[in-house]
C-alpha cells in the first residue's frame, strides 16, 4: 500500500460513512477494505451501526456491490444502508453537459454539424443529416439521419420525441431501422450503444444508464 489511504471512515450522526477512493482499482479497494475491517475488528463490535458507502465518481455493477456487502457481512454489527456514487458535478462533466439549442427543421439535403451536445427544437426530415460530437436531443420527429459522438464518443446518445430515423449512427456504429430494430412507440425514445450494438429504450430509462445526464436529483 503506497501509504495513500484509499478508505476514509467518518462518523456521522446516523452511523459511519466510508469514503472510498475512486481512482484506484476496485480490487485494491476491496483488499484495503478487508484489511481495515479486520484491523478495527474490536471497534466494530457492539450495537448495530449503519454504514453509508460513498464511491465518489466510481460506478459499480450489482456484482461488485455485492462483494462490498460481503466484506461488511463479516462484521455482524455493520449494516449497509446505502452505496452511492456522486452524480458528476466535476468540471469536465458539466462542460460536456453544456447543451446548445437550435430551432428549425433540418430538411432533405441539409446537413447540420455541431461540436458538443445539441438540442434541436424541430424535426430532422428524411434526407437531412444532424451530426454532433456529443449527444443529440430532438424535440420533434427524427426522420432523417442522426450521428452522435461523431468523433468517436461511443457513450453519446440520440434522443427524439418521435424516433423514425432512416439511419442512426453513434461513434462508428451504423444502424438502420427497421432491419435491426423497429420503433412504433408513441413515447420519447433514445438510442445508445450497448456492447457495441445500437439499442433503443424509452427516454425515461436514460437516467439509469447515463447517470451524468441527469442534472437534478429528486428530493
Amino acid at each position: 500500500m503506497a501509504g495513500k489511504k484509499r478508505i476514509t471512515i467518518k462518523g456521522v450522526k446516523d452511523g459511519l460513512v466510508f469514503l472510498l477512493d475512486d481512482r484506484c482499482s476496485f480490487e485494491d479497494l476491496l483488499t484495503e477494505l478487508h484489511v481495515k475491517l479486520d484491523k478495527h475488528e474490536k471497534q466494530f463490535t457492539g450495537p448495530i451501526v449503519h454504514v453509508f458507502l460513498k464511491l465518489g465518481s466510481r460506478r459499480l455493477d450489482e456484482a461488485d456491490k455485492e462483494r462490498l456487502r460481503q466484506a461488511f457481512r463479516k462484521q455482524g454489527n455493520l449494516l449497509i444502508q446505502s452505496i452511492d456514487s456522486d452524480s458528476p458535478q466535476e468540471p469536465e462533466a458539466s462542460a460536456d453537459a453544456a447543451l446548445t439549442t437550435w430551432a428549425g427543421i433540418v430538411r432533405s439535403g441539409q446537413t447540420m454539424e455541431y461540436q458538443g451536445n445539441l438540442l434541436l427544437l424541430g424535426d430532422v426530415n428524411p434526407g437531412g443529416t444532424l451530426r454532433c460530437t456529443g449527444d443529440i436531443y430532438v424535440m420533434g420527429a427524427l426522420r432523417g439521419m442522426a450521428h452522435a459522438g461523431s468523433e468517436g464518443n461511443a457513450r453519446a446518445i440520440i434522443a427524439a420525441s418521435l424516433m423514425r430515423p432512416t439511419q442512426l449512427r453513434i461513434a462508428d456504429v451504423i444502424s438502420r431501422p427497421p432491419d435491426e430494430w423497429a420503433s412504433a412507440e408513441p413515447w420519447m425514445e433514445y438510442a445508445f450503444l450497448s456492447e457495441g450494438k445500437m439499442t433503443i429504450d424509452k427516454l425515461s430509462a436514460l437516467g439509469r444508464s447515463r447517470k451524468e445526464v441527469m442534472q437534478f436529483k429528486g428530493v
Binding site: R107, S108, G109, N125, P126, G127, A141
Partner: protein
C-alpha cells in the same frame, strides 16, 4: 404593384406547369390581371398547356438579351383579356439567362399585373435559381409519393434560404380511393413532414390530361373536381378562407337522404 408567385417542386412530372396554368387562369377568372412566365427554357410547356403555342413571337431570352421589349413578348390569352403569358425559349438552355436578368423582367411585369405566376423547371440548378430570383412568394407542388415529398422538402429548404418568406404547399394528384384504403401517403403526414402551410389539395382527374392536350386549362370546366380545387386555391391566394375539399365522397341524392336520416 403586383405579386410574383413561383410554382416549384424539385421533382419533375408532379404538375408544376399544369398548376401554373390553372392557377393563372383561375386568378384571371376571378377578375385579376395575370401574367404567367415560363422559365423552363429549352423545355417550354406552358404555352402548349394553355393552347397558345402558335401565337408566340418573342420569348424570355429575347427579352433578356434586349431583342424586344417585355410587352412585345407577352402572349395574350385567347379566352381572357387580362391573362398573359411570357413564353420560354425552346432553342436555348437554362444557362443562357441569369437570375439577375429574370429578376429584372419580373420587376417590369409586376407593376402592370396583379399576379405574376412563374412556372419553374424541375431540378434545383440554374433553372430553379432563375425562376425564384424575382419571386415574392412560392408554391411548392408535391404528390402523395415519398420521392416527391423528399424533393419538395429539399426545395423548401432552398426556398427558406432565399428571399422568399414562407412557401405554401399544394398536394397534387390525390387518389381518394387509394387514400381511403390507406395505400397512399396521408395528407396529414405530408404536412407534418414538410411543416409548411397547405394551400390546397388537388384530386387526380382524367379531365386534367384531356384539358392539357386540348390546350384548355382544366379550371374552365366546372364539372371537373380538379377545377374546383384550383379555383379554391386561387381564392385562398387572394386571402379568402375556403375549407379543404372533402375528397372521394360523391354524395348523390341517396347519400344526402342517408346523411339526413343519420345513416351516413
Amino acid at each position: 404593384m403586383g405579386e410574383a408567385i413561383v410554382v416549384t417542386s424539385g421533382k419533375g412530372g408532379v404538375g408544376k406547369t399544369t398548376t401554373s396554368a390553372n392557377i393563372g387562369t383561375a386568378l384571371a377568372l376571378l377578375g385579376k390581371k395575370v401574367c404567367m412566365v415560363d422559365t423552363d427554357i429549352g423545355l417550354r410547356n406552358l404555352d402548349v398547356v394553355m393552347g397558345l403555342e402558335n401565337r408566340i413571337i418573342y420569348d424570355l431570352i429575347d427579352v433578356a438579351e434586349g431583342r424586344c421589349r417585355v410587352n412585345q413578348a407577352l402572349v395574350k390569352d385567347k379566352r381572357f383579356d387580362e391573362l398573359y403569358m411570357l413564353p420560354a425559349a425552346q432553342t436555348k438552355d437554362k444557362n443562357d439567362i441569369s437570375p439577375e436578368q429574370v429578376r429584372k423582367i419580373i420587376e417590369q411585369l409586376k407593376p402592370d399585373h396583379d399576379y405574376v405566376v412563374i412556372d419553374c423547371p424541375a431540378g434545383i440548378e440554374q433553372g430553379f435559381r432563375n425562376a425564384i430570383a424575382g419571386a415574392d412568394r412560392a408554391i411548392v407542388i408535391t404528390t402523395p409519393e415519398n420521392a416527391a415529398v423528399r424533393d419538395a422538402d429539399r426545395v423548401i429548404g432552398l426556398l427558406e434560404k432565399s428571399q422568399i418568406a414562407s412557401p405554401k404547399l399544394i398536394i397534387n394528384r390525390i387518389r381518394p380511393n387509394l387514400l381511403k384504403s390507406g395505400d397512399m401517403l396521408e395528407i396529414d403526414d405530408i404536412c407534418q413532414v414538410l411543416a409548411i402551410d397547405l394551400l390546397g389539395i388537388v384530386p387526380d382527374d382524367e379531365q386534367v390530361i384531356k384539358a392539357a392536350n386540348s390546350g384548355e386549362p382544366t379550371v374552365l370546366n366546372p364539372s371537373s373536381p380538379a377545377a374546383i380545387a384550383y379555383r379554391n386555391i386561387a381564392r385562398r391566394l387572394l386571402g379568402e378562407s375556403v375549407p379543404l375539399q372533402q375528397l372521394g365522397q360523391k354524395t348523390g341524392v341517396f347519400g344526402k337522404v342517408k346523411k339526413f336520416l343519420g345513416m351516413g
